[in-house]
Symmetry: C2
Subunit: 281 residues, 2 copies
């Protein structure tokens, strides 16, 4: 099947809501058309993780793509309006084993997101991990939250908080650490791929909410993902849980950062990811 | 002075080599022309940090820039050839207090680097740091290395390794941790600004060299910098030392990542930065 056909087929009614959400229709050279997805709606505009996955998908289904994603950065320029959007994904440079992409998402005249990606043909080499997966009870032994989240996209994910959950009360209690650890996966479960791994890299609630127990307005402005996972590892991971760990490093003058890691149940580090987030006060 | 005049003036012979290296001449709307700098030469092509600083400088001196840099990602698409390059820096979206930039660096027909930046007007808010500066002796009490680096750009930086220095021998000894801590600054000293902070974010030698004591060929493919520093903090930091800390998280299938932090001598966290690096074997 040609990539355009795959993308169109994903819009069928029996598909997982995630496949519906990231479906793109080819509009000719380097141009794709998609649509915001109500099931992944956030308070204002869509869940950033789904916007990121849509942007990366324009690379993943591009007929000129070389290799698998290694690095991806998306910058959220504005809240998307409900409705269609256009994605331009252009291979700015293709080398023998690496390729560099520039991506721009627009609604009408307006740029709503910018992104860059690096894809590469990867080879088997010496390897190691320096961040062991934290000790944690099995996913089945960690209860899901009793309260349901108030926004639609939260229903698309199963989250079982090991520690550092959303504070029990918005009472301004200070926590010394913003760290959160949880088991997570798509709901309903869906076999992991690079697009869903991209969205899963953004499921962590804002570190400042944990740190201050105060619900200040926030918005991610930029997120970077480094993919350490191979296609084979994603396939082995299947629809199992990921252990996600996220922590802030600095909160200052309206912006904080977050550094995060995602492991599969076999304790393989699949992703390291970072983001910088606006906060109001 | 208009930004073009500032950029041109930086090319004078009395300037610091860093100012010469990042000087850009306006070529009209969103277009700038620069030149690789022999003093910042690496084994093949220039030191990546100087390429990054040149790319960000096209935003810093752009007459339409709004605010200060918050996030910057640069992707190294190819080794630059010695000679001129062209930079296109385009504000893709300007909001009330944030601005999103797309940057492309070319030599002739070829894209050699891509980048995105977010700049913002920042406001005083609640703040905190979750990564305290490591305990370390004063910079003056840490001796500089006795061996001189073999490439030109290493002469442009003063580096005093606290721990995790380059292995004493390339004997394939395995180290459990790739972590390096050092005091560092421009050589000769130069007052810190966003451009030099960008280059300083890339001075760490490759984590895999530390980890394996094996000099495998490497090349950074993508680097992201989150700027927590305000203009006032940079001014207070002046030409003092920065404490840099870098560590790898995963090494697999030809790519490893690095997470790093830079503090000033007053223990203020100025930058958190990450990169992903190709390695041969």
């Amino acid at each position: 099947m040609k990539p355009e056909t795959i993308a169109a087929a994903a819009g069928s009614t029996n598909a997982h809501p995630f496949d519906d959400a990231i479906a793109l229709a080819s509009q000719g050279d380097d141009l794709w058309r998609g649509h915001t997805s109500a099931p992944y709606g956030n308070m204002v505009g869509p869940f950033g993780g789904i916007t990121a996955a849509q942007a990366l998908n324009a690379v993943l289904i591009h007929p000129k793509r070389l290799g698998q994603p290694v690095a991806f950065t998306v910058n959220f320029a504005a809240a998307l309006a409900d409705g269609p959007f256009e994605l331009q994904a252009r291979p700015a440079r293709t080398n023998r084993s690496t390729q560099h992409w520039i991506i721009e998402m627009r609604q009408g005249e307006h740029t709503v997101a910018t992104a860059t990606a690096v894809t590469a043909l990867r080879r088997d080499t010496w390897g190691a991990s320096e961040v062991p997966m934290p000790q944690a009870p099995a996913p089945q032994d960690v209860p899901p939250p009793t309260r349901r989240g108030r926004v639609e996209w939260l229903q698309r994910y199963e989250m079982r908080f090991i520690d550092g959950a959303i504070p029990p009360a918005w009472d301004g209690a200070h926590f010394d650490s913003s760290r959160t650890r949880l088991w997570m996966r798509d709901h309903p479960p869906r076999p992991l791929d690079f697009a869903s791994l991209t969205a899963l890299s953004d499921v962590f609630f804002p570190r400042i909410w944990r740190r201050r127990a105060t619900m200040t307005p926030i918005g991610t402005v930029s997120m970077t993902i480094y993919f350490h996972a191979s296609q084979a590892q994603l396939q082995r991971t299947g629809s199992g849980y990921l252990l996600g760990q996220a922590q802030g490093q600095a909160f200052r003058d309206g912006y904080f950062d977050q550094t995060a890691q995602l492991w599969n149940e076999a304790a393989e580090l699949l992703v390291t990811t970072h983001q910088v987030v606006y906060y109001k006060e």
